[in-house]
């Protein structure tokens, strides 16, 4: 139960952070990606604040033998740069540049009642599931 509360509060803080930093505004995001036009550096401050915090905090957290309310840390174990990573990231970037939404801001924007986010979100979930279904189908064939 306590872990559910942590997840709820962590999600809430993440959502407020996205709204406060204006990452929920696609024009601000696209302004950052428009390096050769009307460049808006806001996203660099957001990423700088976030990554500065996680780099410092994770350093100390991952020194612990286990998390406070769980038996072990469940961090990703893959460590090689492979084709799905590169191709997937490249495809994600194209979609991000087309609309100015990545997954977090799309969820928050849809909850905030922004029409374009409400349109983007179901397509995004469909895309994610499409990949998972395809991957599982391929895995079952071998």
């Amino acid at each position: 139960m306590i872990r559910l509360l942590v997840a709820l509060l962590s999600g809430a803080m993440f959502g407020v952070g996205l709204a406060v930093s204006q990452m929920t505004d696609p024009t601000v995001v696209l302004g950052f990606l428009d390096m050769f036009g009307q460049f808006n550096p806001a996203l660099a401050f957001v990423l700088g604040g976030a990554v500065g915090t996680t780099t410092t905090a994770f350093h100390f957290i991952l020194r612990r033998s286990k998390p406070v309310f769980a038996d072990q840390f469940q961090t990703p174990t893959a460590c090689t740069v492979d084709r799905p990573l590169l191709l997937g990231a490249a495809i994600f970037g194209v979609g991000w540049g087309l609309a100015g939404y990545c997954p977090g801001p799309a969820l928050v924007g849809a909850a905030g009642g922004v029409g374009t986010a409400m349109m983007f979100l179901p397509a995004m979930v469909a895309g994610g599931l499409l990949h998972r279904i395809g991957r599982n189908a391929l895995a079952n064939r071998h």
């Binding site: 559910l4 604040g49 612990r64 191709l87 990231a89 179901p122 979930v125 895309g127 599931l129 998972r132």
Partner: protein, 140 residues
């Protein structure tokens, strides 16, 4: 408040949220993965924390947007939005992460995979915006 200061403050909140999830629950705040595995997850407790995270994210984030008077839409048209959604969904599932999982958490863990992913999606996003805005004169 100054817009850069707000951006920095929002970023720190995002970082603290990710740090809290790792410290207390031992989990990575990767939003794309959390959302897709919500749809198909046989194990109840694995499913429940993800749902709680998304409920908190959407509930508090949506409320914050309304309080801050944010309602700016994407300049993309309907067809572009749907295509972009499919690409973001497919790509983040295939690449095992998005701006939160690879960007905020992966870089925080000093993961080489995440660094490569972030450089890759930043590059293709910047190229896409360049083509849309400066070459094709498109809507975005």
């Amino acid at each position: 408040m100054n817009v850069w200061l707000l951006a920095l403050l929002g970023g720190v909140l995002i970082g603290l949220s990710s740090a809290a999830l790792l410290l207390f629950n031992g989990r990575i705040a990767g939003i794309s993965g959390i959302v897709y595995s919500l749809v198909k997850r046989p194990d109840w407790s694995e499913w429940a924390w993800r749902l709680a995270f998304v409920v908190g994210l959407m509930g508090a984030g949506g409320m914050a947007m309304r309080l801050l008077g944010q309602s700016t839409a994407s300049p993309a048209g309907t067809r572009t939005l749907l295509l972009a959604g499919l690409l973001v969904g497919f790509g983040t599932s295939m690449g095992s992460g998005c701006t939160s999982g690879h960007g905020v958490c992966g870089l925080g863990r000093l993961s080489r995979r995440s660094l490569v992913a972030v450089i890759t999606f930043m590059t293709t996003a910047i190229i896409t915006v360049f083509v849309m805005r400066h070459l094709s004169g498109g809507a975005a």
